[in-house]
Symmetry: C2
Subunit: 151 residues, 2 copies
Amino acid sequence: MFQQIKTMFSKSCEYAIKAMIFVAQKSKEEQRVGIKEIAKGTDAPEHFMAKIMQDLSRRKLIHSAKGPNGGFYMDASDLKNSIADIVKAIDGDTIYKDCVLGLKVCSEKNPCPVHFEFKEIKKNLIKMIENNTLAAFNEKLDSGKFFLRNK
Amino acid sequence: MFQQIKTMFSKSCEYAIKAMIFVAQKSKEEQRVGIKEIAKGTDAPEHFMAKIMQDLSRRKLIHSAKGPNGGFYMDASDLKNSIADIVKAIDGDTIYKDCVLGLKVCSEKNPCPVHFEFKEIKKNLIKMIENNTLAAFNEKLDSGKFFLRNK
DNA sequence: ATAATAAAAGAGTTTTTTATCTTTTATTAT
DNA sequence: ATAATAAAAGATAAAAAACTCTTTTATTAT
């Protein structure tokens, strides 16, 4: 009945993160990366990914250039963006605010039964996505100890 | 564009958790709780909630009785169920398995750049949802220090 | 100038999730 | 037996998310 698959981030957001890491890796070599290459490199549907890239570009998380030799690229300041910045751009900041049980009223003064326990978990999750910048990803991937594999 | 709201669990799952806590509270007094009361008490759409209750019932997380004085209720063994059991029944166990970045290949041997950091967070999340049984919820709510409020 | 390239924008479709409505089945009380 | 009650089941509708296709705009190289 409910055969859904529920992950931490939306599909769009997962694609966005993967694309950003992918372009970040290429950007070291002053390369511009086309949407086809991004889609292929991240195992994402091309046209859907194009929409996501437009969104990221509109929100100034990445640069783009039209025409021949065009594509997406990052400058030094773009590489300072973290997963948190990408998540906020695509999925919004509900991960920062919402109660796990979806209660409208859940706060320090009116805590749901798991409020304080979840607060800790959320704190660590936020710390993780904020600390992991694209530059940090580049280093990790370059070390050869971490991978971005789909097959 | 992507104005979506992304929470940890699906809407169905949130409703399920709230309903289970709601019935658990009432079950102490040997009461049976009707679907209308559950929907009202949890701020959920009645017919949608009915479907979810059917599902929980089919999966043996709760008992039900048809006819007059019928409704949903829990026995002592039902009260031993945790949020984790509810989540597994409704959203499945992807929260236990999946990579945050949605990578098909992400393991101890082929870790994504956030694999180990996320593993810790996931461990704590799982610990929390497994430790929080319905019986534990009852105690917390009875203490008067925790609430399940929507307005 | 013009043709080629590649992103941006617009306009869909499909699938999944959420929600509603109706009919059936089981149980109880009269 | 029968009427009333309440969950189970079935069928459908609406909304959101995921995905696709086509046209437009900007840029570059000839």
